[in-house]
Symmetry: C2
Subunit: 197 residues, 2 copies
């Protein structure tokens, strides 16, 4: 009697922790960090999440301890780095909606930044996860801008993602293999097939 | 009697604040941020300083206020971005020494990162400022590694900088025109002369 009970209890705790983790809205960030770590460890790409900017108000100088600080709005996007000689830059967002992605989720200055990156020869896109649909898409900055320019809606319907965006597959390693989509979109093939780009 | 005294006092305060600012070791960071802002405003390059990573220990959830946190060691370098289609990545350091730059100023994992960036087709270098000499150099990661491989010293003498590194000029705008050195080193000319690289 004792042993099965223990197992059951353990399972519940595990489920709870997954649930609360998901609710925090950072499963995508966690998975992307795992993926980037895999890419770095295998010397495939060197892409990092930038630290969240903090406005420091008070410091305990003696102990180098921050005692009062606020979160700030990032000036650009969350992720950048290098892949196959190219500068790569993207923002990643999750939504609980099953039908659309609200434009308000991304700051205008972040979109302006991604447009600039594209103009300067970089690879710029969004990774957008529909949590409840279990779907993660790559939407290029061009396709995002095309939607904005041709619609008055305040959100991008899931149909637009199905038509224009690129579904990312989940694996064990790397967790989210978003660079395989980048291979197809910007290099017309995998790294091994076409190295001399 | 009152007016001149006030002026004198004001002047002293101003000198003190400049002095303490310099002592904090962030004049280079300040000047680089001004320069990067200039480059961004003129759409020349999009290079940013990454926020300092913070380990958050306690948060006042109601007010989104961080009440206890520590500074962390950056996982990579301080600056990265895009210039003339190229990924660019560098670390910037100041020294009070007049004779050499101590290798201990830069973490090994930061050097390893810059080597990787170079291997993946990016532009990777160090900006090193000798505060008392009023000199700021760009040292490519290749020349840094060459020194390490051929010397047992724990610091790079100023002579090596004079021989191998590239002196950066100071202007009003941009304050530190480090991209003009990058033009010479990696593009064999200014942006206007050779756009189609």
């Amino acid at each position: 009697m004792k042993y099965p009970n223990k197992i059951k209890k353990k399972k519940n705790i595990s489920q709870n922790s997954v649930f609360s983790f998901k609710n925090k809205g950072d499963t995508l960030e966690y998975d992307l960090n795992l993926s980037n770590h895999y890419y770095i460890q295998h010397d495939i790409a060197h892409i990092y999440k930038k630290p969240t900017p903090i406005k420091i108000v008070d410091i305990d100088q003696k102990n180098s301890l921050i005692t009062k600080a606020f979160f700030q709005t990032p000036s650009t996007t969350d992720y950048n780095g290098i892949y196959r000689n190219m500068y790569i830059d993207f923002e990643a967002k999750e939504t609980a909606s099953n039908t659309s992605f609200a434009l308000a989720n991304i700051h205008k200055h972040q979109i302006d930044h991604l447009i600039k990156i594209k103009e300067h020869g970089g690879i710029a896109f969004l990774i957008i996860q529909f949590n409840n649909l279990n779907k993660t898409y790559i939407l290029t900055i061009d396709d995002y801008v095309e939607f904005i320019n041709n619609n008055d809606r305040k959100s991008i319907p899931i149909k637009y993602f199905d038509a224009k965006a690129h579904l990312v597959s989940y694996n064990l390693h790397p967790r989210i293999d978003y660079l395989s989509i980048i291979d197809e979109l910007y290099f017309e093939g995998s790294k091994n097939e076409k190295e001399n780009t």
